[in-house]
């Protein structure tokens, strides 16, 4: 293939690279080195495929779309939570070994595959979308400017890298009982800001989902491969809504007058 010509369009000079991959299961494991030839334009996931095909047929890796759209191939590459399919080898310092480790926040199943069921269980607890009645003619009208924000949240590919990097649960297993994590703040914000939704989840967001644990370090925003402004656009507005709902003296007074709570 003509385009394989070395030197064309940013081909790395180095001929091979050492991949230092965590191998093991729930009972333990260790990093193993694999020497892999470097091909033009490859991403980390391609290198994993090379290793599977030629050196370790049983290397466990999750993947699907290979184009940053499904959020399956999350891992920690040189310590950074990334999608393997969107991390080009020529952006990494290939003269050193490249480490690839499973997401730390979730229990290891095998090699780079972790047990992310925490997220699927949490999803079950989120009160469903509950739309208001349609317009008189049976249609539903929403204007683009009113859905722009919620559409940003719908970009989430559920890679769970934000959950992985969030220090509230990364280093504190015990917090998982009381903290939903950035992924779910994005989901809850999407529902809260959906122009048609009628459910109020603010009590849950404060109590069960532990929004108060977040101290806005923005780690989640930094790792989001979809560039969702998790902290600024989802978490902070939710915090404001919670404060308004539960602490605002005017709201409290109004409720007392109206005989609520």
């Amino acid at each position: 293939m003509a385009a394989d010509t070395p030197g064309a369009r940013g081909v790395p000079d180095k001929q091979s690279v050492t991949m230092r991959i965590w191998r093991g299961d729930g009972t333990g494991g260790a990093f193993t080195d694999y020497a892999v030839p470097l091909r033009e334009g490859v991403v980390v996931l391609d290198v994993m495929f090379d290793i599977q095909a030629t050196q370790a047929g049983d290397l466990a890796v999750r993947w699907n779309c290979k184009a940053g759209k499904c959020g399956s191939c999350s891992a920690e590459i040189n310590g950074h939570p990334r999608l393997m399919c969107m991390t080009r080898m020529d952006t990494l310092p290939v003269e050193e070994p490249i480490t690839v480790a499973p997401m730390k926040t979730f229990p290891v199943i095998k090699d780079l595959v972790t047990d992310v069921s925490f997220n699927f269980e949490m999803a079950k607890t989120v009160p469903a979308f509950a739309p208001k009645p349609p317009d008189a003619d049976g249609k539903r009208r929403m204007f683009q400017e009113d859905i722009d924000r919620a559409q940003e949240f719908h970009k989430c590919i559920e890679c769970f890298l934000c959950q992985d990097v969030c220090h509230v649960i990364r280093d504190h297993e015990e917090n998982k009982r009381n903290f939903a994590g950035p992924r779910f703040f994005v989901r809850l914000a999407a529902l809260e800001m959906h122009p048609l939704d009628t459910n109020n989840r603010l009590e849950l967001i404060r109590e069960q989902y532990g929004l108060g644990f977040c101290n806005i370090t923005k780690c989640c925003t930094v790792v989001c491969p979809e560039n969702i402004h998790i902290t600024d656009n989802a978490i902070i507005p939710l915090k404001e809504r919670v404060v308004t709902e539960f602490q605002d003296p005017v709201v409290k007074l109004w409720r007392r007058i109206r005989g609520q709570r």
Binding site: A3, Q52, R140
Partner: protein
Amino acid sequence: MEGYETHDYDVVVVGAGGAGIRAAIEASAQGARTALICKSLLGKAHTVMAEGGIAAALGNVWPEDNWKVHFRDTMRGGKLVNNWRMAQIHAQEAPDRVLELEEWGALFDRTKDGLILQRDFAGHRYARLGHVGDRTGLEMIRTLQQRAVHKGIDVFMECTIQTLLKDGDRVCGAFGYWRESGKFVLFSARAVVLATGGIGKAWKITSNSWEYTADGHAMGLLAGAELIDMEFVQFHPTGMVWPPSVRGILVTEGVRGDGGVLRNTEGRRFMFDYISDFFRAETADTEAEGDRWYDDHHNNRRPPELLPRDEVARAINSEVKAGRGTPAGGVLLDIASRMPAEKIRRRLPSMYHQFKELAGVDITATPMEVGPTCHYVMGGVRVDADSTASTVPGLFAAGECAGGLHGSNRLGGNSLSDLVVFGRRAGLYAAEYARSQAGAPRIDAGQVDEAARAALAPFEGTGAENPYSIHADLQQTMQDLVGIIRRGDELDKALVELEALEERTERMTVTGNRQFNPGWHLALDLRNMLEISKVVTHCALARKESRGGHTREDYPTTDPHFAQVNHVVRRRPDGGIDLREEPIPEMPAELKALFEEQK
């Protein structure tokens, strides 16, 4: 044999893309105890990669649009060998299914009036695709996924179904393994819905993921179901071509729908040189007319970049062969000179991101290099148009793994609508069938033992064959010999090579243990890919004409005989393949008339 866990359900849905989840939602709503089983995590199925949109004649942008126009477009896109009844149901029900997604929380892009915005796509007379930028599939799968979760449907994730179990003539269950542990699991069921997607992982340059290994097609065939029109494989005209490692990744047709044009390396908009007689009357013959069409559909004809996918893919292939392609073997898709950068980033955000990150190309400034990539199979399990029932009692199929709707070529946008229209019907009729079955399904231990033995065989192998190399060779064979342009002698050669590959699988050995072992999983998926690759090749040999997604260099035109037939395939007990021609179902007069009046 070792013990295995068992579950009993009324309806078991295999596959959790758009069709599978929609089927499970419906079956469950009908009161059936329903299981949804998927090879990956929930929400990662191929549907998530669909980009451009979902076709439905909502008439929000062009009030003239209606189901009859959509029906006609679908039939013409498939070169009229589609199952007319499926195409009719699809066009009639798609709008309701789209509105239902909105009812469940989906946020489609809006018109100025606040309704669902629709975009132009190839082969659709009017702007018809509801969309969310270029990530419509993500919106759809997430909406369906959340609906299914809130309805409390039992989901079995990372669980691969390997074999359908039979009780006499009817399907009574499914047997497979947990990918995480490698342990076996059995589902007894009154009805099974296949929603396993496609077969594209058998080709080398493909937009399809590891999951697309023809599982439903092969399991259906082995269980006695008929397959239809398996020669029709769609090569999407625009996949990425550079760098080599991303070759085949999809570039949405929305780029052309929004005004993007194709040029060769001489700068020519070459699609004007490839307008076939079939579409000549409705296609612009000058660039000026094509450009005017975007704003005025009434007084202008559509640009040839928006011909159906089969036409555009063949044209690109010819340009590259004629030496007017890029060094990497593609042509140029230019949106940069056609639209302001800001609008490109808003309309095509994931294309912008994909090219920026993977190819280092800024599509608001530079054309994209694109070429054909294996994308979709029109053929599939033969189903009853209304009920999605296969020819085996208790077995239903919907979505890509079912055949008939798209004829010889699928229009873009008709897949997402197919999934929800026929996914719903599959769930509905599977639940109804399950209700009609009085006794509990009887599981035959012999069949289970046999399936378990077959699954473990690769661990007991002593041969030197490795599943990854057999798979790579299979992909090369299908790419070279059963690809976008086919020839009788090459198809014959493919059958010989497929035979040899099958022999090699007998000497296949996998390393490691049963816990999350991709080598083992591939070894098992290979059986399905090989089986269906043979079927595709046989059908391609038999159709001695060129039509839609099937192009024969040795029979370059359409043939009046083949215009009247579908290919139907069954598997003989000895493993051989019976292929027969069946006349295409006769269209009623009122539908036929649609093709007269709108010429």
